[in-house]
Amino acid sequence: METLKRRLLDMLIIFVLWLLLTWSLDLQGVVAGAILAVLFALVLSRLLPPHVERLFSPVRWFWALMHIISLAFWVVLANFDVMYRVLHPNLPIRPGIVKVKTTLKSDEAKAFLANSITLTPGTLTIDIIDDWLYVHWINVHESLEDTEAITRDIAGRFEVTLRRVFD
């Protein structure tokens, strides 16, 4: 029963992707998409990631929207930050690799946290080992041993929304 439900979900998602790609309601195209969805869901099993059923939860979609809005703000800020640093004649940088502890549990949340950190001002995720993220920071301005402040400064701004989206 569980696998049947999962297969139907796979078919639906592949069919929606096909409709988005062709973007026409021509009968032949729609039938071809339906055949393709059934074929892929039956033959290429486990192609989609686990927990696909979470796509149908409106609460998660709301928090995903909140995350996208906050991420857009920080990304634009990050670009002006990089522009200032690159075009300044003296190159005002003070780089270093710091360590950040995350409280998120699932793999998806960790992956999207790492990508969000890469896109925000002055930080670049280098590695993730269990709960510790190693982050290259272009302008280290906190005191170096104060892991709490560094964590709050780098990862804290996204954990609130990402926890509600993925965990």
């Binding site: 790609l21 062709t22 195209g29 071809a32 486990r46 989609l48 960790k110 992956a111 999207f112």
Partner: protein, 151 residues
């Protein structure tokens, strides 16, 4: 640790299904837009090569087993030949024996669409197998290879 980090694994899982559907779109609309069997087959193979890079060989072969890839490889070439020989019933090799259909719709090209699908099966599975086979060779130092040559 097998494969790359969690980040790469998760993002690869998210995009692999989209890449396969995109490759199928390139194959099926190959006669209306640029693309076709070869390009779509390469894109479908890229999805599985991506899985192999991110997760390691076992996971990629669990998604597309080696034996199934071999069968698809051979049957693609066979299907191409059979569709070509169907033309002989009307006169000569590769003669279009299917209907032409309406212009600018999916079924409008006679036998180009089945030929595209056959080429896609052939190219996709064999490119995946070639990548897997080439990755299996151990990387050895040039010094060892030269010494082995000289001895």
């Amino acid at each position: 640790m097998k494969g790359m980090t969690i980040i790469v694994k998760t993002i690869t899982d998210f995009v692999a299904a989209f890449i396969v559907v995109f490759g199928a779109y390139i194959v099926l609309y190959g006669h209306l837009t640029p693309g076709g069997g070869f390009a779509g087959g390469v894109i479908i193979a890229c999805a599985f090569i991506l899985l192999m890079l991110a997760h390691g060989r076992e996971v990629a072969f669990a998604r597309l087993p080696e034996r199934a890839a071999h069968i698809m490889d051979s049957s693609g070439a066979l299907a191409f030949l059979i569709i070509g020989w169907l033309g002989v019933t009307g006169g000569f090799f590769f003669l279009n024996v299917f209907g032409r259909g309406d212009m600018f719709r999916l079924l409008s090209s006679g036998m180009i669409l089945p030929l595209n699908i056959a080429i896609a099966f052939k190219v996709g599975s064999s490119l995946f197998l070639v990548f897997a086979a080439l990755a299996m060779f151990r990387r050895r130092s040039f010094r060892a290879m030269i010494e082995e040559e000289l001895s």
